[in-house]
């Protein structure tokens, strides 16, 4: 098989924006945050992404403003480079190559030309020890500079960037790890270590979690895993140091930040409450509750007018200093696991998956923005660890996007499984889904698969469950009772008490296939008649997929015993099979193509093929580490016209998949990248307002209108830049006084210059009329 180099696996859309602390620019207009392999620049007022600074080839692990130029920012990445950006124009200025996996970056105004980065202690990837090193940036005009000199500052620091902080004016740096706080004074080149007693035997975990230094006074605030905040003082002495303790959080303090003047201390944790402590008046505190999810980072703008908090649900909240939420930037919510399949909403073409607890999210991949959340569970979520709550585990759309079916379940340790099946209908007026039917306990055990019939005549939903049955649900018409239509169970079927694992409709909805462990059964959904059984492979059936378009006579199945089989439905016989450990089989709804993800020795390979052809269209080895469990073909908004054979399968749709680490990845072709580059050039129009597509459409139009209005209301206002006038004034002002003619002569000339000649006037009026 041939490897195709023209197709790259990229992060595009849906990356984490809460991975590292965001940065607010000094004019508070933009917010910079690392997102996957790029740095995103958001407008703080409109929440729109202004620039996507691309260039890093691995995860961006930190963004800081350049302390000597407030229009530039440094970003560091796991690819071993630090890049300097002009973020207003989105231009990469310089690349510093460090060649170590960088975990975080710190800068201080006092140390000009020095960056502090955290790198692994030994030059190995698996090393558990980290050190803070100073990087002296070489002065050179080249866009790519190799940095040779690294000097270690602190050994054994935490890789968490929140655990390192610069003190007053960069005089010292404080780092916390485990139960130890270390303060290093640059002037004296001396470090002091302070340890806390382990409270483990008392059931207290008082290890350090985060740190922040007061910007004006010598005071270090540290957050602890037991929810306490300690304020350390007098730490330039070994013995006589002292600290005071604040306690509000009931779980670990995730992040701490002093405001630039040092008057307030902000803290956040899993409680999803932003706490604002008054410095030296710690009894008085303000709260901003109900922020939605655990706070992971807090950033404060350099002028102190804006705060922003990153949340565990991939969200950045921008908060005014009066503790009011002003904007929310929501990324794709990825919990530690995605329970539902990835789906495409047929109406909005948005990616749908479970988002924040109890919700389905609709995420636009093209705009890389969350559209909306649909509350499925409709219960208050309790922010506490160890509470079992309802989770959305399955969801399915019908072909037109009129109906949505969801399954939520809750399993408590001792009690029985609770399952609800909910059916939602699309309401044209409110443009969202409305709950139509709730079925409590639709099955006696977990629902394994659910799909709508694609046939246009009936609205039919099929669910399969571990209790050994599959059920067909039909929209019953209650036209006689004048009630709106609701769903009810139409048919319950099974096959020899085997447990069904998957189900699939053929493209036209005339056939329905179930995988009952080792047996594949094919049913007719109109008569509920068992048409045929296919049982070839050893091992239980994992995935079933009907072929489409020209290949609709094929049914493909994968089994747990490393088999990919293709049956011909006309002959009811096995057409071909290959030994492959296919973890996921996904059909492209717009072509005959199928994608099979095979896990092999810890990494995943991808094969794209047509069931009718023996040769794969595309294959890629070692796509990513770990197993791929979820993938989806998303339709493109614009067709690509790629002529190369190997990339044709990406012309109509785009394949997205979720890796083990919950990264949403996709494939990009050369033509696509070229197009993106072109569009970004086009976007790069200098203007004082944040440039968004919206602005490009309406903003310029508005500006023109404004000009027009000014012309109409006050035609004289337009006069000043007239060429004659400016020359006259220049003459008047620039010529030395002793060579000037008499004032009366000049005056008449000057007054004349202010008048508009009749010819230019008519020209202006023409301009007004033409648009």
């Amino acid at each position: 098989m041939v490897e195709h180099t023209g197709i790259r696996v990229v992060h595009r859309g849906g990356s984490k924006i809460n991975f590292r602390e965001p940065v607010i620019t000094s004019d508070s207009r933009f917010l910079l945050c690392g997102s996957g392999e790029s740095v995103k620049v958001y407008s703080t007022s409109t929440e729109e992404c202004v620039h996507d600074l691309q260039g890093h080839t691995d995860l961006v692990t930190g963004v800081v403003l350049n302390p000597s130029n407030h229009l530039q920012a440094y970003s560091c990445s796991a690819d071993g480079t630090v890049r300097l950006w002009d973020f207003t124009d989105g231009i990469l200025i310089k690349t510093f190559i460090i060649r170590y996996h960088i975990f975080s970056i710190h800068v201080s105004e006092k140390h000009v030309g020095v960056l502090f980065v955290v790198v692994p202690m030994a030059n190995e990837k698996g090393s558990e020890l980290f050190q803070l090193v100073a990087v002296h940036l070489p002065r050179s005009g080249d866009p790519e500079v190799e940095v040779g000199e690294l000097s270690a500052v602190l050994c054994d620091v935490s890789p968490n960037p929140g655990a390192v902080s610069f003190g007053t004016g960069g005089e010292y740096i404080a780092a916390a790890k485990g139960l130890q706080l270390e303060v290093f004074f640059f002037k004296k080149q001396k470090s002091y270590r302070f340890s806390l007693k382990s409270g483990m035997n008392k059931g207290i975990n008082n290890s350090f979690t985060c740190i922040s230094c007061h910007p004006k006074e010598d005071c270090i605030a540290t957050g602890h895993a037991d929810g306490k905040i300690r304020l350390w003082r007098n730490f330039n002495q070994k013995k006589e140091y002292t600290y005071s303790t604040l306690h509000w959080h009931h779980n670990a303090v995730n992040t701490l930040r002093f405001t630039p003047e040092g008057t307030n201390l902000l803290s956040g944790g899993i409680e999803s409450v932003l706490v604002q402590w008054r410095y030296t008046q710690e009894n008085q505190k303000d709260f901003l509750p109900r922020l939605g999810a655990a706070i992971t980072h807090i950033a404060v703008s350099p002028d102190g007018s804006l705060f922003c908090t990153s949340h565990a649900d991939n969200k950045i909240t921008i908060i005014l200093s009066s503790v009011k939420v002003s904007a929310i930037i929501q990324g794709l919510v990825k919990d530690d696991c995605v329970r539902t399949d990835l789906m495409i909403d047929p109406r909005s073409k948005a990616l749908v998956l479970n988002g924040k607890p109890g919700h389905l999210q609709f995420y636009s991949l093209h705009r890389d923005k969350q559209l909306y959340n649909l509350d499925i569970v409709q219960q208050e979520y309790i922010h506490e660890q160890g509470v079992d709550q309802f989770q959305v585990v399955k969801a399915a759309f019908d072909t037109h996007g009129d109906w949505l079916a969801t399954v939520e379940e809750r399993r408590q340790k001792s009690s029985e499984l609770e399952i609800n099946l909910k059916l939602w209908s699309y309401d044209e007026q409110t443009q969202s889904f409305v709950l139509n039917t709730t079925v409590t306990a639709p099955h006696e055990d977990q629902i394994t698969a659910m799909c709508f019939s694609p046939s246009p005549e009936t609205t039919l939903l099929v669910t399969t469950s571990l209790d050994g049955h599959f059920k067909a649900w039909l929209l019953a018409d209650h036209s006689d009772t004048e009630e709106s239509a609701s769903w009810s169970c139409d048919f319950v079927g099974g096959y020899h008490l085997l447990k069904p694992g998957c189900c699939c409709f053929s493209a036209d909805g005339s056939l329905l296939a179930f995988g009952f462990q080792e047996v594949v059964t094919v049913w007719s959904p109109t008569s509920w008649e068992l048409l045929t059984t296919l049982s070839q492979p050893p091992g239980a059936v994992r995935d079933l997929c009907f072929g489409r378009l020209s290949c609709s006579k094929y049914l493909l199945g994968t089994s747990t015993k490393n088999q990919l089989c293709c049956w011909n439905l006309l002959t009811c016989s096995l057409e071909w099979n290959t030994p492959m450990d296919v973890s996921l089989l996904q059909a492209d709804p717009f072509s005959e193509n199928m994608a099979a993800f095979c896990s092999q020795s810890g990494s995943t390979d991808l094969f794209v093929f047509k069931p009718s052809e023996p040769r794969p269209l595309f294959s890629k080895k070692a796509l990513c580490t770990g197993k791929v469990e979820r993938a989806i073909f998303a339709p493109r908004d614009q067709m690509l016209e790629s002529s190369e054979e190997y990339s044709q399968w990406l012309n109509r749709s785009q394949l997205y998949f979720l890796t083990q680490h919950m990264d949403l990845m996709t494939f990009s072709t050369k033509t696509e990248e070229d197009r993106l580059l072109a569009s970004s050039k086009q976007l790069m129009v200098d203007d004082s307002v944040a440039i968004t597509p919206f602005y490009l459409l309406l903003g310029r139009h508005k500006q023109q209108q404004q000009e027009k209005q000014e012309l109409l209301t006050n035609p004289l206002a337009e006069r000043t830049p007239l060429p004659q006038g400016s020359i006259a004034i220049k003459e008047l002002l620039d010529t030395p006084a002793h060579v000037l003619p008499s004032a009366s002569f000049l005056c008449s000339m000057f007054v004349r210059s202010l008048l508009v000649s009749s010819s230019s006037r008519s020209k202006l009026e023409d301009n007004v009329c033409t648009p």
Binding site: T168, E171, K216, E217, D218, C219, R233, N234, F235, N236, K239, E240, Y241, T242, Y243, S244, T245, H250, T280, Q281, E282, N283, Q284
Partner: protein, 680 residues
């Protein structure tokens, strides 16, 4: 270890009273502590916080404040009098009426001038003379009571905390020169006055005040302006103390420390910052003292807490541990070994109990069924206003004696069939008061440690009691005798005084036999061995000495023990040993106890060195019979009885253990202020 039948007594309902005031004398390292019942205790902080002296209280004589002038201790209270104490005779020396109504506070300056704050709004200056105190003059009289006072270290200014305000007085002119208004509580009702509970005047003219609205405020004493307000609590802040830092105690039981810290490490300017919070109390902290290396606090929950400031210590030592003092370091229980009676001493009464009896047998650890229940035989209320300071019961159970500061009473007891008690009418005139009472083993003599460091010997018989002799040491010093012990054979009497001297008297010749070599720490318990007549002394610093009276020198065992040194775990124990007794059946065994354990020292076994496991009873139990002897050492410690008040060995080889669980004391305290607890 030896097996005993144990009477586990829990009917002693001892209840200490709340701590009201404290004063520390840095020169002598003595802490004076006043309780709500009017008693005053003196702790020696140089000698492991040993409770040296207890001056019993008096009815209707509460103390609001204490202060030291040199080695002299003064108190003042709401009865309106200034009292000086005679620390050698453990009694008030004199009281002086101040004519200003109830007195809220008394302080002194290094020059020896007293100042008191009175209910009627006057601040009165008294001069301390050699023979007493003398009224000097009044400062300007104010409206409202004077709650708290503080001298400026220079002695020219006084800050006075009043209702809703603080006044600063110029001492020379007597005029008030500053008036600092204190806010009323923010949330609470505005009509309630704010009480300025304490003020502290620092040498840089900074004034700290704590008040009933829960604030600690920092004022500039020059300009009279408020520098900073620290809202510590919703409730009262009751106590303040200063040394190198200022500490404040609140009604919630917390102690908050304020330190003078430079906000920027490079600069010299410093400011007061609230730093650490300690919570060692459950109730109001009423009294606080900072002693340089530790913060000493006491309050409504009756315990004295010594909280060390760890940064002041270079290494771990005894003083760097947190100490809590719950029980008095003396015996409140006397036991009649033959008659199986217990005498329990309360400040206001005595209780006589007969122990229960059981004839059951069982395995070690079993609870035996009782044949007869313990029985309260007698409830003897004291006469007069003064509280009982000591009591004794003869071992036959036939005599009972108690003493207050003004009188000694002796009773004849009949406890066999019908209980009767008769007061012995005519006591010798010399026997007016006693610090310690003790009967000889066959109940023929009563020994009373009296004033002027003398011991009175009084012979007792059926009809009368007769003064026999006064035993006196050779030197003419008047030093308090606080421990007495008599040999079983009636030949020897040992006394310990507060100068750490131990004298041994020959009772047959009625003269001083010898003096035990001086040791720097006070003996906290003594006992004379019944057969060998060796005197065993346990000191407050946990050292053990054995002195042979006959040979007038330390015994071989004692020298060996001193050579080898005691185990660190023994030396670092919390509380002093309060009683030493011997096992008549096994002359090698010495029994002693403190609050948390009792110990049998077996002199026939090898001494433990630092490496051996000290608390080895559990390991011994798990070993086989053959292995055991190699692991044995002389100190056998039993911790199964906690909060011990007393332990005695009866004549029938059964142990009496009197416990007073701290839980039971805590449950009898009034409810603390309500605090919101998370998740309740």
């Amino acid at each position: 270890m030896g097996e005993f039948k144990v009477h586990r007594v829990r009917f002693f309902e001892y209840m200490p009273t709340a701590i009201r005031a404290m004063s520390f004398n840095a020169h002598t390292e003595r802490l004076a502590l006043a309780r709500v019942d009017g008693s005053v205790e003196v702790f020696n902080f140089a000698d492991r916080y040993f409770q040296e002296k207890v001056i019993p209280g008096k009815d209707a004589h509460s103390i609001e404040a204490l202060c030291w002038v040199g080695g002299r201790l003064f108190s003042a209270g709401l009865h309106g009098e200034i009292t000086e104490y005679d620390l050698e005779n453990l009694r008030p020396k004199y009281s002086l009426e101040a004519y200003g109504g109830p007195i809220w506070t008394i302080i002194s300056n290094p020059q020896g001038t007293h100042v008191i704050g009175c209910e009627d709004g006057t601040v009165k200056l008294f001069e301390v003379l050699a023979e007493g105190v003398q009224f000097e003059r009044n400062l300007d009289r104010q409206k409202g009571r004077i709650i708290s006072l503080s001298w400026h270290p220079s002695g020219t200014r006084i800050a006075a905390g009043m209702m809703d305000m603080i006044r600063v007085f110029d001492v020379l002119t007597g005029h008030a020169i500053q008036r600092l208004l204190v806010d009323r509580s923010v949330g609470g009702c505005k009509s309630r006055e704010t009480v300025v509970w304490t003020v502290v005047f620092l040498s840089d003219h900074t004034i700290f005040s704590s008040d009933s609205a829960g604030k600690v405020q920092v004022w500039d004493g020059h300009t009279g302006t408020l520098v900073k307000t620290h809202q510590l609590t919703k409730w009262d802040v009751l106590a303040l103390s200063d040394e190198s830092s200022v500490v404040a105690g609140t009604s919630e039981g917390t102690v908050v420390q304020f330190q003078f810290i430079a906000p920027n490490l490079q600069q010299q300017e410093k400011e007061w910052v609230r730093t650490r919070t300690f919570k060692n109390h459950t109730h109001d902290v009423r009294a606080l003292v900072e002693i340089g290396t530790a913060i000493v606090s006491g309050g409504m929950d009756t315990q004295l807490v010594v909280r060390p400031l760890l940064e002041k210590f270079e290494e771990k030592c005894f003083a760097s541990g947190l100490r809590r003092i719950h029980f008095p370091h003396r015996n409140l229980v006397s036991c009649a070994q033959k008659a199986r009676l217990l005498l329990l001493q309360f400040p206001g009464q005595l209780e006589l109990w007969r122990l229960g009896e059981s004839d059951g047998h069982g395995k070690p650890g079993d609870i035996l069924p009782l044949k007869t229940k313990p029985e309260k035989l007698l409830y003897l209320k004291r006469k007069g206003k003064d509280h009982i300071c000591c009591s004794a019961l003869s071992s036959c159970g036939g005599w009972l004696a108690y003493s207050t500061v003004s009188s000694v009473r002796l009773y004849r007891l009949q406890t066999d069939n019908n209980i009767s008690i008769t007061k012995v009418p005519k006591l010798p005139k010399v026997l007016r008061s006693a610090h310690q009472l003790c009967f000889s083993s066959e109940s023929s003599y009563l020994f009373a440690a009296s004033s002027q460091s003398s011991v009175l010997v009084i012979s007792l018989n059926q009809s009368e009691c007769k003064y026999v002799h006064t035993l006196k040491p050779k030197s003419g010093m008047w030093i308090l005798i606080y421990r007495l012990c008599v040999a079983v054979d009636g030949k020897w009497l040992a006394t310990a005084n507060s100068d750490c001297e131990v004298h041994v008297y020959n009772l047959q010749k009625l003269e001083l036999h010898c003096m035990v070599p001086m040791y720097s720490s006070c003996p906290s318990a003594m006992g004379i061995h019944p057969t060998t007549n060796n005197l065993t002394m346990v000191h407050a610093d946990q050292q053990i000495f054995e002195f042979s009276i006959a040979e007038k020198q330390y015994t071989v065992w004692s020298r060996k023990l001193q050579m080898q040194g005691l185990h660190n775990l023994w030396l670092n124990r919390d509380t002093p040993v309060t009683h030493v007794t011997f096992n008549p059946k096994n002359p090698d065994q010495i029994l002693l106890h403190d609050m948390y354990m009792f110990c049998i020292i077996d002199q026939s076994l090898p001494l433990p060195d630092q490496k051996t496991q000290f608390y080895n009873q559990m390991t011994l139990r798990s070993l086989s019979e053959q292995e055991r002897p190699s692991h044995l050492h002389a100190f056998k410690v039993c911790k199964s009885f906690q909060d011990l008040m007393c332990m005695r060995l009866l004549d029938d080889q059964s142990l009496v253990v009197v416990e007073r669980p701290l839980m039971a004391i805590n449950s009898q305290l009034p409810a603390p202020v309500r605090q919101k607890k998370f998740a309740t």
